[in-house]
């Protein structure tokens, strides 16, 4: 298939349809509104359903229902809207239902701004809803990867019966890049024999539920969830690394911020500095082990985020105190520039190459 130029938000919709998503429930909010708009136009063409719910809370509960009946389903929003969805997300995780949730982040807290940010890292990776649950969190850095991760995200969700979150920001949602649609490596996906599809009088009813009133039962349920999360940690970590074995400084950044870091790294290399990059693609499970590969001569790690320091906590866990961990961030919708990153790296060098 030839490449087409698409806006990130529209590419998400096209990728979801390519993955067989037949249901989309959402509510508009900048900077992701092109996605529901695209779905409202395209879903009917493939015999799917687009529904603009009365609120984000309604939308996520429609996802709960559709997923419970075995359908491939997606919702999307931006930061404040994703906050509203947290109760439903916790229920979906508790009931072990597959779905894809897209968060095109904007500045916060509260209504914040409509400009790009990465301030929902904690919410996405630590669970914004109640209970000991985890989302698989995928963080694309360009529109092609966004498409690939949406398509694979539906498979991951189905394989583990777990919600998958795509964590992007306003920049990737709004920008246009060439994309092509490719099917991911085939996974052996289990039958959805748990779905509430009607018994036809031939089996006991399937029940979708996250309520376990007996403490013993809920503990067993949580143990089962933790076993599943362990398997996901073993199988699903994705990370991109560049030159970390003999770098003097390693930058850790994800999503669009990692691209800005790459521009800074090229600039620094031209001046003779040795700078590597670790770009987590899965934020949960976090690629902790990748940091073990950093060479001993490394002077420090610089984490760059569009927030005041969230992923930096995971970087500190990953480095186990082997290296000093520095942080540079912009927030409120401000985007760090390559020159700012270059300056910060030189500061860490302390004036010596």
């Amino acid at each position: 298939m030839t490449k087409v130029l698409m806006k990130g938000n529209e590419a998400i919709g096209a990728a979801a349809i390519e993955a067989g998503c037949k249901y989309f429930f959402g509510y508009p909010i900048t900077p992701q509104s092109e996605l529901p708009e695209y779905m409202s136009k395209e879903m009917p063409k493939v015999g799917g359903v687009f529904l603009q719910a009365e609120s984000e809370i309604a939308a996520i509960n429609m996802v709960y229902g559709a997923s419970g009946s075995g359908a491939r389903v997606m919702t999307s929003s931006s930061s404040p809207g994703i906050s509203l969805k947290q109760e439903g997300i916790s229920y979906i995780a508790g009931a072990e239902l597959p779905c894809v949730i897209v968060n095109i982040m904007r500045g916060g807290p509260g209504l914040g701004s409509i400009q790009p940010s990465q301030t929902d890292y904690f919410q996405a990776t630590r669970g914004g809803g109640n209970g000991d649950y985890r989302l698989v969190v995928l963080a694309p850095a360009n529109v092609q990867e966004l498409v690939d991760l949406i398509i694979e995200g539906f498979d991951i969700a189905d394989q583990y019966r777990n919600p998958v979150m795509i964590l992007g920001d306003g920049m990737i949602g709004q920008m246009m890049e060439p994309v092509e649609f490719k099917q991911p490596k085939k996974r052996d996906l289990p039958e959805k024999d748990w779905a509430t599809t009607g018994t036809k009088g031939k089996r006991k009813p399937n029940i979708i539920n996250s309520l376990y009133l007996a403490a013993e039962e809920l503990e067993e349920h949580n143990k089962k969830l933790q076993e599943k999360y362990k398997t996901i940690k073993e199988n699903e970590v994705k990370v991109e690394s560049y030159n970390i074995e003999d770098a003097d400084i390693v930058i850790a950044a994800y999503g669009t911020t990692s691209r800005i870091a790459k521009t800074a790294i090229t600039q620094l290399e031209n001046e003779g500095y040795k700078v590597g990059l670790i770009r987590p693609i899965t934020l949960w499970p976090f690629p902790y082990n990748e940091f073990n590969k950093i060479g001993d001569n490394c002077k420090g790690i610089l984490t760059i985020e569009m927030n005041t320091g969230q992923m930096v906590d995971d970087v500190k866990i990953a480095t186990k105190g082997r290296f000093p961990v520095e942080f540079y961030g912009r927030t409120g919708g401000m985007v760090p520039t390559p020159n700012e990153i270059v300056k910060k790296v030189k500061e860490i060098y302390g004036g010596e190459k």
Partner: protein, 185 residues
């Protein structure tokens, strides 16, 4: 080669379209491309802009800090972006709406009366294509044919009947860039 272009003007002047045509044309020529719009509240009646990168290599930051060229369709855009252009970069000024001259002396400046030329062609709306034509002539970033091929991809097949007018606008813009010589101040 990496060309970093800022296109700016009032909402409605077609600056996003100029950017998309350049981006699509770059993709047709197998280059790496990205297009990033401003999407703040400023778009309602103020200035709008987009950042376009066309490169031989994979594109890092899609945000342009230092532009190799800027196309400005109104005065607020000139004020905002003149100082973001690299030394020896190019600046395309819509002189129909911007009376003031550029202050920089270390860049190449082209004064293109885009709206006047568009009006001569009978349609003020193609002013953006006029200045795009000037840009293409001055930089040779992508071929005119690629831009014309991109036209129906960006605007849809139902706009194909407007292709001859837009082609003419591009050509008039190119002539304007050629005839005025390079204005190095």
């Amino acid at each position: 080669m990496e060309e970093r272009i800022v296109v700016a003007g009032f909402g409605g002047q077609g600056v996003m379209a100029i950017g998309q045509l350049l981006t699509y044309a770059g993709m047709i020529e197998d280059k790496h491309v990205s297009w990033l719009p401003s999407y703040g509240p400023e778009m309602r009646g103020g200035t709008a802009n987009c950042n376009v990168i066309v490169s031989d290599d994979a594109i890092g930051a899609p945000v342009i800090e230092e532009a190799s060229a800027a196309i400005v369709m109104n005065k607020p855009s000139l004020d905002k972006f003149e100082n973001n252009i690299v030394k020896d970069g190019k600046l395309f000024i819509n002189s129909s709406l911007i009376e003031q001259k550029a202050e920089r002396e270390d860049i190449d400046v082209y004064y293109i009366p885009a709206n006047e030329i568009a009006n001569e062609l009978g349609n003020d709306k193609v002013a953006n294509m006029v200045i795009l034509g000037a840009y293409l002539e001055a930089t040779k970033l992508v071929k005119q044919e690629s831009v014309l091929e991109a036209f129906t991809k960006v605007f849809g097949e139902n706009k194909a009947h407007l292709l001859p007018l837009n082609k003419e606008a591009i050509e008039k813009g190119a002539e304007a860039a050629k005839s005025q010589e390079r204005v190095t101040m």
